[in-house]
């Protein structure tokens, strides 16, 4: 029983959520034992297995049992399906699109005053944009750039956070204190504003700027996550055993601790991907995105649609819907993953 339940457990303080996720680190969770029913039904514990007996059957690792539950979870399956479709689209987009997204077949129809946006017509089911390009094709191909931005930003954040977090967690002492102080400050500046300030350092806006800016925003998240995970493991038995056996420190970190952190990292990465895509759209809206729009990208399309949104809202609605669905897909996956890995979660 929790004598004094940690009131912070549900604080949505970014820090606390990340710390809580770090606690689900692989070895810190318990191996499942067949026969022990931990379902809390109305507070009465229904353990059937006797305390004196060690389960003769196979123990299941946390990840394996999580996977079993996930396979049947409709939320997870929906999210995974959406993600899968998105990735496939990103790869085959250019071949599936009916027209070249950079070509301007409808340019001759564009009239500044009377018809700035060509409407839907045969061969162009969604119509064109302000310079006569096929909207449908741009949407289909736009997914690729969006995915690239999202993945690269997340990877960047992950690698940066990995380095910082591992360093802080492994070295401890003043290094840890300094790094964490900086991380806390970064976490206290709202994400978008931080991204904006990073992007402002660049002389002129580009897609790289956006990627870097968002990556920097995600670094403190991963740093804190990994540090929490490292700390949770430092005291655990398997690390102590490795040290007692004389395994070198860097081997302990890389071969024993990092693999166990995989779970929370995957969860966070999935959720971060969703926010990365949305924040990239926000940055484009503010004018910090890639000004060259020959290669379409959903966030950029959304940002550019703002001028005409009153008269031609579909220019904004289509890319927005794409973004929303994909972000939702990743979020569903991430959230169900997190629930699956949390040993405390109940049906």
């Amino acid at each position: 029983m929790t004598p004094s339940p940690d009131p912070r457990r549900f604080g949505d303080r970014k820090k606390d959520r990340i710390d809580a996720l770090a606690q689900t680190t692989g070895s810190a969770g318990s191996a499942g034992r067949p026969g022990v029913d931990s379902g809390a039904q109305g507070g009465a514990v229904l353990t059937v297995a006797d305390a004196g007996r060690v389960a003769g059957g196979e123990g299941q690792s946390l990840i394996a049992s999580a996977w079993r539950r996930l396979r049947r979870n409709p939320v997870f399956l929906t999210g995974a399906a959406i993600t899968f479709i998105f990735v496939v689209l990103a790869i085959v987009g250019p071949w599936v699109a009916p027209h070249d997204p950079a070509a301007q077949p409808l340019l001759n129809q564009v009239r500044q005053q009377t018809n700035p946006v060509p409407g839907a017509q045969p061969g162009f089911p969604l119509g064109g944009d302000t310079v006569g390009r096929d909207l449908l094709s741009r949407l289909l191909v736009g997914g690729r750039q969006t995915l690239i931005v999202g993945v690269l930003a997340t990877l960047g954040g992950l690698l940066g956070g990995l380095t910082l977090g591992t360093l802080a967690g492994a070295l401890g002492g003043w290094v840890d204190a300094l790094v964490m102080r900086i991380v806390d400050v970064m976490l206290s500046i709202p994400g978008l504003i931080l991204a904006v300030s990073i992007a402002a350092i660049a002389a002129s806006p580009s897609q790289t700027t956006v990627i870097v800016a968002i990556a920097v925003v995600q670094i403190p998240i991963f740093a804190r996550l990994l540090r929490g995970s490292m700390l949770a493991q430092r005291a655990s038995d398997h690390v102590l055993a490795a040290r007692a056996l004389g395994v070198k420190p860097h081997a302990i970190v890389f071969r024993h601790m990092l693999p166990n952190s995989l779970g929370p990292v995957i969860v966070q990465a999935t959720l971060v991907l969703a926010t990365a895509i949305i924040e990239a759209a926000g940055l484009s809206f503010l004018g910090l995105g890639n000004p060259d729009d020959r290669q379409p990208e959903w966030g950029q399309m959304l940002g550019q649609a703002q001028n005409l949104v009153s008269d031609y809202p579909h220019l904004a609605i289509y890319p927005a819907l794409c973004i929303i669905v994909v972000a939702l897909g990743f979020t569903l996956m991430g959230e169900s993953l997190r629930e699956a890995l949390d040993p405390k979660s109940r049906r």
């Binding site: 929790t2 004598p3 026969g35 039904q41 109305g42 229904l46 353990t47 059937v48 297995a49 006797d50």
Partner: protein, 341 residues
């Protein structure tokens, strides 16, 4: 329902003929999506007479807690099925609606639980947690209820009760909290009190104090008590009549002294034998009951205890032993331990 199963043992003569509580063929089955249903309580019958202390004894998982929750109507709304009868002064509690049960809970029947810290609301002062039962069932004003609450805290032996009224649970020790919970339970003078392992979470010295407190209070108020525990020592000190449970059914019922002096069911016997004794030499081995609950057979076709039983016969694996009367006790066994004459 035939009365033959519900023996009148010696103690019932003391407490009068009309039972306060009659549990008849109680069954609680837990169902879970996609998994087999599980009968936690598999046909339990017992009586409680006014002022009597009845023990429900057994290992974890034998169904004793679930029985008490079923009597109180505190099982979750979904995921389980309850069958049978629970008659309190003639009214079948299982047939009552939730609001009808709510009227009775705290007033006619009350319960205290195992962990005193988690059983108290951490953000409400203890005094109010006592007073609110009085406000609810006796219609008292806040002031009047708090005055009575103070008296109750004093009665359960909490020193400086005026101050304690305003204290929060975390400011009290474990023993004090359990006393407060007893105060809460007895505030409205219920006819029946159910205590589910009330001392398991406490230090040994405090355990004795709490048990002694309970004993005195129920004697003083004439409240019937159902004592649920896995600790035979507790039973020995407190209960008039003892029900031994195994795998959801009662396997032996007897008055306190006969049970301890002459346990007849092999399980009861095994429990008593397994207690380490001080007067036995150091090199002697301990006597645990072999096997585990996971070895059980189903009651529907056999005796559940058979795989672990030193007295097991072939019939034990083939038929369900019925609960039968035998020299003033109830016994569910084909081959009980012999009575030493």
């Amino acid at each position: 329902m035939s009365q033959t199963s519900y023996t009148s043992t010696a103690s019932t003569a003391r407490h009068g003929d009309e039972p306060l509580l009659q549990v008849r063929d109680l069954r609680v089955t837990f169902t879970r999506q996609g998994e087999e249903s599980f009968a936690a309580v598999d046909g339990i019958d017992f009586d409680v007479r006014p002022g009597q202390t009845v023990g429900l004894v057994g290992e974890s998982g034998c169904g004793k807690s679930v029985t008490s929750l079923a009597i109180m109507g505190l099982l979750p709304k979904r995921g389980n099925r309850v069958e049978g009868e629970v008659l309190l002064n003639g009214t079948d509690l299982l047939k009552l609606s939730d609001s009808e049960m709510r009227d009775r809970r705290g007033q006619e029947l009350a319960m205290i639980f195992q962990d005193p810290l988690s059983s108290l609301n951490p953000v409400v002062p203890v005094g109010l947690q006592v007073a609110e039962v009085l406000e609810r069932h006796k219609g008292m004003s806040r002031k009047a209820a708090m005055a009575v609450a103070r008296e109750m805290l004093d009665k359960v032996g909490i020193p400086d009760p005026d101050r304690r009224l305003k204290d929060y649970p975390h400011q009290m020790s474990g023993g004090m909290r359990q006393r407060a919970l007893i105060a809460i339970a007895l505030a409205c003078e219920p006819r029946l009190l159910i205590a589910d392992e009330p001392t398991t979470a406490l230090d040994v010295t405090i355990q004795a104090q709490i048990l002694s407190l309970l004993k005195n209070l129920v004697e003083e108020t004439g409240t019937a008590l159902i004592m649920i525990t896995h600790d035979l020592g507790v039973v020995a000190g407190l209960c008039d009549e003892v029900n031994v449970l195994y795998a959801g059914r009662i396997v032996e019922r007897a008055d306190r002294h006969p049970l301890f002096e002459q346990p007849r069911h092999p399980y009861t016997n095994g429990l008593l034998q397994s207690i380490p004794k001080l007067d036995v030499g150091r090199g002697e081995r301990l006597n645990p009951i072999p096997g585990s609950v996971a070895d059980n057979l189903p009651w529907t076709s056999s005796c559940a205890f058979a795989p672990r039983c030193p007295n097991a016969l072939e019939v034990c694996r083939e038929q369900t032993p019925p609960l039968e009367m035998d020299f003033g006790r109830a016994l569910r066994c084909f081959n009980p331990v012999e009575v030493a004459r």
